[in-house]
Symmetry: C2
Subunit: 237 residues, 2 copies
DNA sequence: AAGTGGTCTAGACCACGCA
DNA sequence: GCGTGGTCTAGACCACTTG
């Protein structure tokens, strides 16, 4: 009956993309319910089972939350839970650190070799570079150097620099990140900004964040002094 | 038609448990194919769709690998890929470190307060304590202190101490782990065993491994010197 | 050609949340 | 009582692998 041509992707993936773009574009607002399964199935001309498979996938990708008896709701990507999910620094009791930014500087430049490698850019591509200090209240937490592909973030405001807010603004849905960790000691300039003695032991964090579609969206180097108030917490599956 | 009583779990979960126990018990051997969907459906008196849902779940839990046109195969939990999936230390090019153990010491004792907390044990429960040195060839990598609930691992051999092999031997299927990381400097005793100068910057790794059913199976403290040959790599989803 | 898992459909009933 | 998502069924066809 169904005349899927030779190289089409499965219907449920196409449907996922269609629904995801409604979320990314803001057509469906965070916090609000989307149409129920059977209405969506009717609208797109697929079966309820296919719709369900697409929605279950979107829930796994943290785009929506489904609740039996209530409905399917668009997640607010800028809510604290989701916004800081790529930052594994926690207080000792396991709570995430919301974090504010200080001493923000932004520049645009041609991508250097390291940036081309980490962000899969070409020699002639440009990047936004952001230097900033991440605070937990009055406690300096991480000295960060961020690189963003300029092509993905046109008209970068100098007010908002947090990757989750930026991605949301530009219709990009974040997927996963990988972080490499080394130990090190604080160089004088870093130590000064973190308000710690030079040569204190610190973590060097090297993180690349990917969009749901695989595009590389952010490269961040972080210098972090944990002290005995914070830890780095990661789950291994 | 179906007379599920009030508090039964969904069929596909019951089926998953039944199939998982065949894997855990060794009734189905690693590397070999298991019966196809329709045969399993017939055997357990459920529909093919329910069987599929159970098998898809088991694939997500790394119990089996499914391949279109070939069949469904039992994973070898002791193969390097799976065996070292809870150790995030990698060489700089991203390869996992298989790792052998040296200087192994085992003792049994009553669980102390920390062990009770981390492993959810009662005051009177007992633990196996293992001290050992994890090597990468001739390079000392991690000084490890491991605690295992004695109740889960009766007749612990002093030959095999690796959690994946142990779990496999005792019919336990591992699920996830969470690791807490701090920076530190090497105390003299640790430095000596790692062949590094005292006060070298090291990672302190505190990991709890859970079985698929949620039971806490291992608590490990690791002292690791990364140097410039290794990194800690983690994926954030 | 035969057998496997992957996709898709259509419809039933159940558990949950709310008014 | 009604509407939602969650489970379960039965069956069709497709894509891939192997003989």
């Amino acid at each position: 009956m169904n005349s899927r041509s030779f190289f089409t992707r499965p219907l449920y993936l196409q449907l996922r993309d269609a629904l995801a773009s409604r979320v990314a574009s803001g057509q469906w607002k965070p916090g609000l319910a989307i149409p129920n399964e059977s209405d969506l199935a009717r609208e797109f001309g697929v079966s309820a089972g296919t719709t369900r498979k697409a929605l279950d996938l979107m829930e796994a990708e943290r785009l929506v939350t489904r609740r039996q008896g209530r409905g399917t709701f668009v997640n607010d990507q800028t809510a604290n839970d989701l916004a800081f999910r790529f930052c594994n620094i926690r207080t000792l009791d396991g709570r995430r650190v919301p974090g504010q930014f200080m001493e923000v500087r932004i520049a645009e430049a041609q991508a250097n070799e390291a940036e081309c490698g980490r962000l899969s850019l070409g020699e002639n591509d440009r990047v936004h570079r952001i230097h900033r200090l991440r605070m937990d209240g009055v406690r300096p937490l991480i000295v960060e150097e961020v690189s963003l592909p300029a092509a993905l973030f046109p008209n970068l405001s100098d007010k908002i620099t947090h990757i989750v807010a930026l991605a949301h603004q530009h219709g990009i849905i974040l997927g996963r990140a990988e972080e490499r960790i080394w130990t090190g000691v604080a160089a004088p300039t870093v130590a000064k900004r973190l308000s710690i003695p030079s040569n204190s032991p610190i973590l060097r964090l090297d993180r690349v964040t990917h969009a749901l579609d695989g595009r590389r969206v952010e490269w961040r180097i972080g210098h972090c002094y944990l002290g005995d108030e914070y830890m780095y917490l990661t789950e291994i599956k």
